[in-house]
């Protein structure tokens, strides 16, 4: 956690914040949606919204949490259909996305078989390093429910991955 004073002392500028958090947030959303361009779209849109109110967002105790919540909300909302940022990103995307490797496909494929809630809490736990309390705050569910989703999701994901290993 970065408190307001720390953030000011280290000069939390937008460029540094963007550089530090765009990639991890995109990876989290990619794990959730299984669609990298879509994940980049929602994270880019979340950073656009952060920039329009940067003075306040940068003063938050955890600005990354704000952007993460906006990005997840976008990923689970109607926004993706509108894709207001998609054209912008397509215009600026200069490199083609290479073919995914087998290990990445295995995890993404296994995650895709899980219920959305289980998938989301697993990603927030393993990729965003969030505590149960933080996940509960973000998804708006009681901590006990989050613990249960994590428990269930872990067991199911381990089983899926084991099955895929057996098949390969």
């Amino acid at each position: 956690m970065v408190d307001v004073r720390q953030a000011r002392e280290v000069g939390l500028d937008f460029d540094g914040f963007y550089a530090a958090h765009f990639q991890p947030l995109t990876i989290q959303l990619y794990a959730y949606t299984g669609d990298l361009p879509s994940a980049q779209d929602v994270v880019q849109e979340a950073f656009c919204r952060a920039l329009t109110r940067w003075k306040r967002v940068s003063a938050l105790d955890d600005p990354q949490a704000w952007v993460r919540r906006v990005a997840w909300n976008l990923a689970t909302s109607q926004w993706r259909r509108a894709r207001t940022a998609a054209a912008f990103l397509r215009k600026h995307r200069v490199e083609n996305v290479p073919a995914p490797g087998p290990d990445r496909v295995a995890l993404a494929g296994a995650l895709a078989t899980l219920p959305a809630q289980h998938r989301r809490v697993l990603i927030l736990h393993y990729l965003a390093d969030q505590s149960v309390r933080e996940i509960a705050d973000q998804v708006g569910a009681p901590e006990g429910t989050v613990k249960a989703w994590l428990h269930r999701g872990r067991a199911a994901l381990a089983a899926r991955l084991a099955e895929e290993e057996d098949e390969s």
Partner: protein, 408 residues
């Protein structure tokens, strides 16, 4: 933080992170700025067009309704009006994902949103809770609806007008937020114009405190009353970010306040309505003692007890971890091993149950057959979870440890 260093899934996610990192292509901070600038330009063009329409429509309506070529009378009675998206000025912040644009018109006696948003306001004392330690009383020099000090942010989110003293001139009411770190407080305050374009604070109407967890709305009520919507919003941003909670679990109600001559007084009592989708379930379990049977297997049973300590009837399921390989004998109605949960040497017995009424208790006994002794490589427990669409905010009694013992 991830605390399961030996968890094989940690390695799988780390590998995924490493592989995916090379594929992410950020547009970059500069291009983000460029995009935001482009949006602002486009929005300003749209707003200019809207402003022209907003100015034109009331004048036209005034002519049609009153026959007065000058438009509506300046002495007309105050009217209830929601904050509009009209007029100009910079968009201001009301919470994640939301902006609005202050209006430059107000009913007779009222203070326009634009004027209020850039006025120095004296605020009533904040309730003696977390935020109040840092939230000040002013004068707060608001600019475009907000103000920020080193560690505290204030903003105005919603204005309403009501003629509470019946003098034919509207008083102005605003919902004001104060944020210290991620802790947010809000209150509704009444204002009136003062000499020299200043604003006078009439007094507080209602403040977020205790069980009054959040203030979500503001409007004029009948006969000069003002109404405030409160809710038991369960997440830190409360009604500053309505998108962050499942609205189904949020219980809302409008409270009505009138002016006594010296203060705003609530009419009637707060109803504390019951949320039909939420209650408090409590789960307990007996130990599972497995004794050796003539056939060499181990058999035993455990009883799960679910008690609804709340008022609303909700459906739920219990999930009880046992060793993978154990069998459920004569499963009770709604109970079965869930193969999708198998993994790590364990599997869940899932029991799905119909709605349990408030105050009621339900027991279910699970008979288990174990073909052999199992060395437990996990910590067995059982938990109760509301079915989708229902909620149990108090999770402290939802999970019970489970003792599994083998006896020869």
């Amino acid at each position: 933080m991830t605390n399961l260093d030996h968890d094989p899934l940690t390695a799988a996610f780390d590998e995924f992170r490493g592989q995916a990192a090379a594929l992410v292509k950020p547009a970059g901070a500069d291009r983000t700025r460029q995009e935001v600038r482009t949006r602002k330009r486009n929005r300003n063009v749209t707003l200019a067009t809207l402003s022209a329409l907003v100015v034109a429509i009331p004048l036209t309506a005034g002519v049609l309704l009153t026959g007065d070529p000058r438009g509506s009378s300046p002495d007309s009675k105050p009217v209830v009006r929601k904050p509009s998206a009209s007029a100009s000025g910079e968009p201001y912040f009301v919470g994640p994902g939301e902006t609005t644009h202050p209006s430059r018109t107000a009913p007779a006696g009222g203070i326009t949103e634009a004027a209020l948003y850039s006025a120095a306001l004296d605020l009533p004392a904040w309730p003696a809770e977390t935020s109040s330690a840092k939230c000040g009383t002013g004068p707060i020099p608001f600019h475009n609806g907000d103000w920020q000090t080193d560690d505290v942010a204030y903003w105005i989110a919603g204005v309403a007008y009501a003629d509470v003293d019946g003098d034919g001139r509207a008083e102005t009411f605003a919902r004001i937020f104060c944020m210290y770190q991620n802790d947010i407080a809000s209150q509704v305050v009444a204002f009136a114009p003062a000499d020299g374009d200043r604003v006078r604070t009439i007094g507080p109407v209602l403040a977020q405190t205790g069980k009054l967890m959040s203030i979500c709305g503001l409007r004029a009520g009948p006969n000069g009353a003002v109404q405030v919507e409160i809710a038991d919003f369960p997440v830190p941003w409360r009604c500053a970010d309505p998108s962050s909670a499942n609205q189904r679990y949020v219980t809302r109600q409008w409270l009505t306040f009138t002016w006594s001559g010296s203060a705003f007084v609530q009419q009637g009592t707060t109803a504390h309505p019951t949320n039909a989708y939420a209650t408090d379930l409590e789960l307990t379990s007996t130990a599972l003692v497995l004794t050796k049977q003539p056939n060499g297997h181990y058999g035993g049973s455990m009883t799960l007890t679910v008690h609804n300590t709340g008022a609303s009837a909700i459906p739920y399921k219990t999930e009880t971890v046992i060793s993978y390989g154990m069998r459920l004998v004569g499963p009770p109605h709604g109970c079965a091993l869930d193969p999708s949960t198998a993994g790590g040497g364990m599997i869940d017995v899932v029991c799905t149950a119909a709605k349990l009424s408030g105050g009621a208790t339900r027991k279910v006994t699970l008979k288990i057959d174990s073909p052999r002794r199992y060395q437990l490589t996990y910590v067995p427990d059982t938990n109760v979870i509301p079915l989708d669409g229902y909620n149990d905010p108090n999770d402290t009694n939802d999970r019970a440890p489970l003792a599994i013992q083998f006896r020869d």
